[in-house]
Symmetry: C2
Subunit: 348 residues, 2 copies
């Protein structure tokens, strides 16, 4: 039995989703994978922080934050005034679970958290798209130099195992193209528009259901799927393309008439993210609305579901369809990364 | 650089598909995975056999058999009259690539090939459904006792990475149910019937296109998907269910009227293989035609494509769609298994 000491930075929906799965499946992870996780510190911008070398009771921590309380109410060691970087370094953990918010301007504060952890000798799992979309090469280089593992399954399609599938299941093959539906909010809006709603109505429904934020720019202008296709291309196709280089068009100019005309031609409008290798070896990245014929399986990926289709030199396309969002799903993706990290540590 | 000595038993479409990929991607496998494969023996019921401790030139071997010739025409060592078991044992290989034909009566000759290899200290990769469907537990026990690896990605959905995805990407989660379209021939026939053909016409087209054999019983009566769902349930859900225990109904009694009635209800008829955990922990296996509403992504998996949907305790369903047949795809699946075996050997 290997014990992994874990520090959580970010304890919002995704961080708690991960913690909840760890708490509920403690015995299963021990018996099936020989993995025991001991959470030694948790820090969150809103909920404060807590640490305990002997292990923090996850149920109490989750419950406190679920109720809108603070971690510092827990009866545990809590020296005052530490920054999240100080908490990471003081934790002496084996693994950082990073799930702070995505910032596509400069990747902070996640970028600094990840670097601090790697440089302190920790492995890192993260659901945070910002650092990976903006500094993929830099982070991989630091992980290589420090001989640490960095995993990020939840950054794309939530807990759907996109990276794991390609890494383990398409090994030896060359990925020539990837394309997919990588944003649940816009796919929900386009699905509702195809069912008759206007853009404004569909957006309002998405906001009421919690799929879209009050300011929906990151989704409807395509920034979120642009970050995801950049991460995919860098991780799976050996690209060195910055997020800023994604040719990006959102869905705000799509009108009901466009969708009706597409339907007459047995097509659907979908926001498609794609990365293709050009003959000169460069990888071209784009996010833009496209007319998808009903004979294409992507036409039938509806609502908040996401999908990714992978073209290789080895066989016909493989498509994975699964959840694209949700705290439980993204939280589970972090758990799966922890299991991978655990196996990696055993074999290194 | 690790050199794997490989013996091929079976050098039909799938075996040659694997060999072709290895030959064409030698440098890529070396540079990306540090893997070099040296084929030291090949034996095939029709094409004869050949061995060479220094390595057999794959291009010449593939070419000879492609042209309908025999392996024994190659200018290499070829002592007379050896059985395939003798070839395996004499090869002193590290890995057996087993791709002889599927026999769902007693699993032979593949079953004996696999056991002989494991007991001689070889790892095994196979595309042969018979041994896994009939003797899963026994083979896993032998592999465990001999501390050897046994991989079988190509037995289900050809080279689509079903087992790799679940193993690497759904680790820690419990698989509660799997369901899917696991036979390309019947899915092609049902797709053509939905487009207006009779069962007899659709079957004839499938035979002309090479999707169905002259005796189509194994496909249209559901024996093939029954073998696959048994392998899946045993490998992924901890079941101990024999292939004979699959509740199996084929597609031969489906009439054009049934399909037309389904269409009127916005449904499609699909041959669905499924495995579900019942509350008492048993896994129930079935293959039978089912009415699938058009809101279900499986309704849109057409022609010879296959799909598998996985329900876990961790997140909403994940679906993988990909090729279900084809020598190149199944051959690539064997290559992917070889890469996994290689990584497993490095870390053990």
């Amino acid at each position: 039995m290997q014990e992994l000491k874990v520090v959580f930075v970010g304890f919002g929906t995704v961080g708690r989703g991960c913690a909840r799965y760890l708490a509920a499946n403690r015995r299963h992870l021990e018996s099936s994978h020989g993995l025991r996780c001991k959470v030694v510190a948790i820090t969150d911008l809103k909920a404060g922080w807590v640490e305990n070398r002997e292990g923090i009771g996850l149920a109490a921590a989750i419950d406190a934050v679920d109720r809108g309380g603070r971690l510092s109410e827990l009866p545990l060691d809590r020296p005052e005034g530490r920054s999240s970087i100080e908490v990471i370094k003081a934790s002496k953990a084996d693994v950082l679970v990073e799930s702070t918010w995505t910032n596509l301007k400069d990747g902070e504060p996640g970028l600094s958290h990840i670097i601090a952890a790697l440089e302190s000798g920790m492995d890192v799992v993260t659901s945070n798209k910002g650092p990976l979309a903006l500094a993929f090469r830099r982070l991989k280089a630091i992980a290589k130099d420090t001989r640490r593992q960095l995993r990020f399954e939840s950054t794309v399609m939530s807990g759907s195992p996109v990276f794991s599938m390609c890494e383990a299941g398409l090994a030896g093959a060359r990925i020539l193209r990837i394309r997919g539906i990588l944003n649940g909010t816009t796919n929900y809006i386009l699905t509702e528009m195809a069912a008759g709603k206007s853009y404004a109505q569909a957006l309002r429904c998405a906001q009421e259901l919690g799929y879209a934020e009050a300011d929906p720019t990151g989704d409807v202008e395509g920034y979120d799927p642009a970050a995801k296709i950049a991460i995919l291309a860098n991780a799976l196709m050996g690209a060195d393309e910055p997020y800023a280089g994604v040719n990006r068009v959102g869905i705000t100019s799509i009108r009901t008439e466009d969708i009706e005309r597409a339907a007459c031609e047995s097509k659907r409008i979908k926001l498609i993210a794609s990365a293709s290798k050009s003959p000169d070896g460069r990888v071209e990245l784009s996010v833009r609305p496209a007319l998808i014929p009903e004979t294409d399986i992507l036409a039938h990926v509806s609502g908040i579901m996401n999908a990714l289709q992978i073209t290789t030199d080895a066989q016909p396309d493989v498509t994975i369809i699964g959840p694209g969002a949700g705290g439980d799903s993204a939280g589970y993706g972090l758990v799966n990364d922890l299991v991978s990290i655990h196996h990696g540590r055993l074999s290194s």
